[in-house]
Subunit: 139 residues, 3 copies
């Protein structure tokens, strides 16, 4: 069994952002030389998500509006986590709704995707340096 | 390390449907000959889910009602994704709530499940041919 | 490829509970002897979650309040699943929101985590004996 590990670093210009990282993950997979196996992609942080969906700006706006309605940023004092001096309780909740990680099948050296599947880094408390972990195992 | 891959095709008779695919996944596992490892099951589409829960019709009705309340189909023009001519923004959101994929332990050649765990294909924009990917790795 | 399997048993004193199980998973990993691979952690039950987030009591209170608002326990007769004599439909829904399982990278014999990542067993219908499955594959 082979294994491969890489950290990808990001610093979003906005607090919330949905960024297509599929090309970076494909580069990792090529670098790994793994042909058959699984790729795991997850943020190393707890107010961000990695998820798979469509690269369509209208949909991304819908996601952010949906999440804001369910777990609004304000008022800050509605969350007990923010009693610690943080203001990001909403981002911890948004991350749980969108999920932490994806596991993707690797087949013949490619991400084994349907035609519209793309991998996104979803940041809900950005504007600081954060890491995505890519771990691939297989042969 | 061994690896196995199969596509399962479906065409639901209704737009939304929750279908127990555990027997199909068990057949895949037998066919793979893998005794110890992980099975990954995911739709190759972005308006559908694969998830694990109970095969109880009342619960399925509860899930669909819960999802419809959170991300209603209508009015269609409440979603920016639908400005592209689609009407399925709601289904992209429902899929995120229910999740994309499951990873299941494989032990002694069986899906390593508790007594009530069953695998479901959750379709939120059906009535067309769609694929579920099954990828199993191990020994 | 090596594989490792263990069941962890719990019996929560309250119906809902969020319990940090990171030390137990680290012990499993040490016991497995696996240095590079993936660890899968999931409940063997369908009204509980395993998820990764922050070990901060205020946040846990926020999660439970958020989940109760989205899928309240009462009134019991709002859910069709409860027509079967159960009262735990809400817990099946809460589990879907928080997710079933986590897959964690294993690197150099450690859980490959950022500084704040911790693994939690989220129970939404407890006060009875339940199992968490730990399956680790790799080398």
């Amino acid at each position: 069994m082979k294994s491969y590990r890489k950290e990808l670093w990001f610093n979003t210009s906005t607090k919330m952002a949905l960024i297509n990282i599929t090309p970076e993950i494909e580069s990792c997979l090529k670098e790994s030389g793994i042909k058959e196996g699984f790729a795991l992609v997850n943020p190393m942080h707890i107010t961000a998500s990695v998820f798979i969906n469509d690269d369509e700006p209208g949909l991304h706006q819908d996601y952010l509006e949906f999440l804001e309605k369910l777990a609004p940023y304000k008022p800050i004092d509605q969350y007990r986590h923010n009693d610690t001096g943080e203001d990001n309780a909403h981002a911890h909740i948004k991350r749980q709704i969108m999920g932490r990680e994806v596991v993707v099948a690797v087949t013949k050296g490619e991400l084994d995707f349907g035609p519209w599947e793309q991998i996104f880094y979803g940041e809900f408390d950005g504007q600081r340096r954060k890491r995505i972990l890519v771990k691939i195992i297989g042969e």
